[in-house]
Chain length 180, copies 2
């Protein structure tokens, strides 16, 4: 996996893919599936919705770091499986045969099988709305990966796979970081 | 456009489509294009990232309501156009030939051409992170629409169109509202 410039990391998240979030509580790593995420700025800051109902939340609150890993459509059944069992009683990396790779800055691991991984620090928790504010500190992408289509949860048990890409770079030039 | 049950409205947003947000400042309506959005719960509460840099933000802060309208791929050039001009000097409904329809609860209008419209009240603004917390109060969907594919902004001037849908309802049953 190669380094991705931090100012490009928001482009992994803006389209709204389902992501895997890894944590480490000092003893062991865990993973959760999250589709309630948002970009907050280009630096980038991200927001995710999570709380006590996720076993990973305790580690997130304690160690204040995580990795956002971006899976692709060939990983859908792992993604759904991870989202429907709990780290409280399951070693999810073992169960779903995912390979942990040490991250460069945080203790939470990267997931080797994913298209990209974003190392993040927790900068704030807006408790009232279960919003965790994350700052990306390093990003990695697998440029050799053949399958790059991400998946989008609808919330009713169905998932939308990325279709074709339409280029509107010229029309958008004035609004993109770096400007026209 | 038919009523959509409020407890289904989050399914319009969870997959991360680009949306149009309409506002009304008491004098006139405006629209902005937003792709930084997130579901907060199933009631549903939503979060969007916006601030002073959007002309619509003043109306949002003043009247504390808006409509989230979901456009589809046939509307891409309108969506990009709306996102790259300002309501400060442009009547966007006129310029992009969109039809305003009165909403049922809020003063901001629905957009007739969109697949769905969600009427929202502003419940909070987390100023530090430019997060606006919205509560949906009514939702509408156009069941007769042929084109239903939404669009996902990458953030680099390209847009991903919805591809095929994969059903994992059985695997997800324990996690869906309403339960297994």
């Amino acid at each position: 996996m190669r380094q991705l410039k931090l100012d490009k990391a928001f482009t992994l998240m803006e389209s709204g893919p389902v992501v895997l979030v890894t944590t480490h509580d000092g003893k062991r790593a865990n993973i959760m599936t999250i589709s309630w995420t948002m970009v907050l700025d280009f630096t980038p800051l991200f927001a995710i919705t999570t709380g006590e109902w996720n076993h990973s939340f305790a580690a997130l609150r304690k160690n204040r770091e995580c990795v956002i890993a971006i899976p692709t459509v060939d990983m859908l059944d792992k993604v759904v499986g991870i989202g429907t069992c709990s780290g409280a009683d399951t070693d999810k990396f073992g169960k779903f045969t995912l390979t942990l790779v040490p991250a460069s800055v945080v203790e939470a691991p990267l997931i080797k099988e994913c298209l990209a991984n974003i190392e993040c620090k927790v900068v704030d928790i807006v408790t009232k709305y279960n919003i965790v504010v994350l700052k990306a500190v390093a990003a990695h992408i697998d440029r050799a990966r053949q399958e790059t289509r991400t998946i989008h949860a609808v919330g009713d048990g169905t998932f939308i796979v990325d279709g074709r890409t339409i280029d509107r770079k010229k029309m958008m030039a004035s609004k993109l970081p770096g400007g026209p």
